[in-house]
């Protein structure tokens, strides 16, 4: 039982269990570059140099709050999902901005009010609220990014 949502969030893309979301997850990872034979979904930094341009990066917890009761533990976890790509001349095929933008909305759809999208061991998801996509900070002008913030309310299983 772990409150580390990195692995289950990564699995939400690569091994989605909710049949209603599998097509969407497949469409998202189908757009991404490949890294070592896998879609480029990372839950760690630094991202490998050869990871490709179009990637999804799952941030560590931004905050952990709680709505605990006397006999139940109900963590509230905030996590960012960032999508990065290469920025080019608008309209040029090398410009991944439109793809990044579209992926931002798809990531939002994958999680927003989709309580079965994420299945952490030992916890039940009460609900997930996604905000964004909004522009993500980038390291240089050659990058474009969008970030979707997830607020995930959990209940620890008895």
């Amino acid at each position: 039982m772990s409150l580390d949502l990195g692995p289950p969030l990564r699995a939400a893309f690569l091994d989605q269990q909710d049949p209603a979301l599998q097509a969407l997850a497949a469409a998202i990872i189908g757009e991404l570059d490949q890294y070592q034979g896998q879609p480029a979904v990372f839950a760690f930094r630094p991202v490998p140099e050869d990871a490709g341009d179009l990637i999804i990066l799952i941030n560590p917890d931004s905050s952990i709050g709680n709505a605990d009761a006397l006999r139940s533990r109900r963590p509230i976890v905030t996590r960012d999902i960032a999508i990065y790509g290469r920025k080019g001349t608008p309209g040029d095929v090398s410009d991944q901005s439109p793809v990044v933008e579209a992926l931002g909305y798809q990531v939002r759809d994958l999680f927003h009010l989709q309580k079965f999208a994420v299945q952490p061991a030992g916890y039940s998801v009460i609900d997930i609220v996604a905000t964004g996509p909004v522009p993500a900070p980038v390291d240089d002008d050659g990058e474009v990014g969008r970030v979707v913030s997830l607020t995930i309310r959990l209940r620890r299983n008895p």
């Binding site: 930094r45 990066l57 560590p60």
Partner: protein, 136 residues
């Protein structure tokens, strides 16, 4: 027994109390954010800039204030009609720290401040509403 129910007045009092509570609450969140940035222990690398030693934050910790620019460029906006207050940090550095970049791990402070004070904020709003309703 007769009960007079003056709905418009009750609603007005609740709105007034909620607005006061939100104004108090955003101050609580702001104070917590400033505390996280300026007062919590940082364990990143140390370096010298203009002869002054600076202790940076490690990934995951609220960022360490250096020039104070990010803190100085914050403000609070109030939307009374929607009973909403917003704490804004108007610097690129704030977003970089909160969300990280492809290469840099985040140093979240804003949502952490909100998460750590949410109960206090709720209490403040509730307290102000009760206060307004208790007035004759």
């Amino acid at each position: 027994m007769a009960v007079d129910w003056n709905a418009p007045e009750i609603v007005a009092k609740v709105r007034r109390g909620a607005l006061k509570g939100v104004m108090t609450g955003i101050g609580i969140v702001e104070a917590r954010a400033v505390y996280l940035i300026t007062q919590t222990t940082k364990t990143g690398r140390t370096y010298r800039r203009r002869g002054k030693k600076h202790q940076s934050s490690a990934p995951g910790e609220p960022f360490a204030s250096d020039t104070g620019d990010t803190l100085n460029r914050r403000n609070i906006t109030l939307d009374a009609a929607r009973i909403r207050a917003t704490l804004n940090f108007h610097s690129q550095n704030a977003a970089r720290m909160e969300h990280g970049t492809r290469k840099m791990r985040p140093r979240p402070f804003a949502r952490r401040a909100l998460a750590e004070t949410s109960t206090q904020v709720q209490d403040a709003v509730l307290g102000e509403i009760i206060g307004e309703l208790s007035k004759k």
